[in-house]
Symmetry: C2
Subunit: 245 residues, 2 copies
DNA sequence: CGAGTTATTGAGGCTGGTCAAATAACGTGG
DNA sequence: CCACGTTATTTGACCAGCCTCAATAACTCG
């Protein structure tokens, strides 16, 4: 179910106000964005965009988790991005979606009509500079992920994903992540496998393996406890200097 | 050998003038860029940047081919980007190189001192918008590559790389690539393996296999003849791929 | 509680990796 | 121009890691 909200909450109260594409805007600039925005909600599992869809808007993810993925005609699928609150969907100057985007939890987005948004990007350095920062962050993340996909073992892949989620889901973004951490996986085993370039069986086996090695505890299908994040990090194959964001 | 050129060619005569980060600038903006630029050359095989290097400049690649790569401490290496003329090296607001950059042919770059360049990015939409375009293009390319790394078979990977090179090396860029094509590989087997997430032995074996299947001919270490590009494309696993890159 | 979905576990096979050796191409100096 | 040493590439034998197919278990939600 897709819903378009008619009530227009004020940007001042927006939970992603200080991280999203609008984060550097104030006063008049913010007001212009406010004029062209509207909200949409998607239920878990809903497609947000299919490759090839015409794009009449871009958007910021407000709530929930979505994935960007690509697939081959025989069904092989690779996730190429994870969208969390404040992440940006779409691309100025691009009228057609190049990838599939799917809500994996209930999702709420803040849409901007594309044409007026593109004009704002052109004329507002506070927007284009923020967008540049965000896309370069994503490029760095994509390149990190290429190392994982091309060169890491299944165990290293799983450990890397868990560490990534522990960091990104941690209540205190940016701050030091505590050694003992717990979180709920926002992804099914299948989604994880598509993210890591593995099969879901291998994901399940490696999780069990990490569990029996005492590096994690599993509770239910989604709950994960990491007693010592440092130990888990040492399984990722990374040099600890890669502690970016 | 790294050389810093003292003579300052005029931007008007620059071969990448209309594709690089400066492509939207004219007159005064171009002059400001010209003030903070200098040239450097690197021999084939030379490192241009090591991860962790302090960055006092950003740059545009003028001539040659370079790679962006990442490696793990045990030596596993993954190429995460290929830099061709007009591509941009570095990132405003980033003082440390996040990846290794290596010249694989002789390379010439146009450097801009970082601090003044960052100020120009802030104040010049013609620069930041172009930079945004370029980084989004790279992001799209990285995401295409993630599908290859995560989900394609060795044979599909090799076929994809050959098709990519055939397209890019083809004298007629952009135009329809002829069905019969010949080119010289700009990469060693090892470089290919690092690009594809394979071992060099597997690369060699798959090339031999494609040869014995009549899809390609090999002459010397680098020469490749593709009698029918369409047949090779059908081995890449791609759908209606074509028009990108 | 029961049907459907999601996850775990097992057995066996195949792809691609590892180790090793042979061959081919390249470059240098005589 | 050739001999020789070096490097790049090919090929072989073997094997490990991950995938496939299949059955069972756990969880979710009406």
């Amino acid at each position: 179910m897709i819903r378009t909200t008619t009530t227009m909450p004020n940007c001042k109260d927006c939970p992603i106000r200080h991280n999203a594409v609008c984060s550097k805007c104030e006063g008049d600039e913010l007001r212009k964005l406010e004029e062209i925005k509207y909200y949409r909600s998607y239920d878990a599992g809903q497609p947000i965009l299919w490759r090839g869809d015409p794009l009449d808007h871009v958007a910021s993810l407000i709530e929930g988790v979505a994935t960007i993925s690509q697939s081959m005609e025989d069904g092989r699928t690779q996730m190429v991005g994870l969208l969390l609150p404040s992440d940006f969907i779409g691309r100025p100057g691009r009228g057609v979606a190049p990838f599939d985007v799917t809500a994996i939890t209930d999702v709420k987005v803040c849409c901007f009509r594309r044409k007026p948004f593109e004009q704002l990007v052109q004329s507002t350095p506070n927007i284009s500079n923020r967008l540049l920062e965000m896309s370069m962050d994503e490029l760095d993340a994509a390149r990190e992920w290429m190392l994982l996909l091309g060169r890491k073992t299944a165990r290293e892949k799983i450990a890397s994903l868990l560490v990534l989620i522990a960091r990104r889901m941690s209540p205190k973004r940016g701050a030091q992540v505590p050694s003992h951490t717990e979180f709920n996986l926002p992804l099914t085993r299948e989604a994880m496998s598509n993210y890591l370039g593995l099969t879901l069986e291998t994901v399940s086996r490696q999780l069990s393996q990490l569990k029996s090695d005492g590096l994690i505890e599993l509770s239910g299908q989604r709950g994960v406890v990491v007693p010592d994040l440092g130990l888990l990090i040492s399984e990722t194959g990374e040099t600890w200097d890669a502690a970016l964001a």
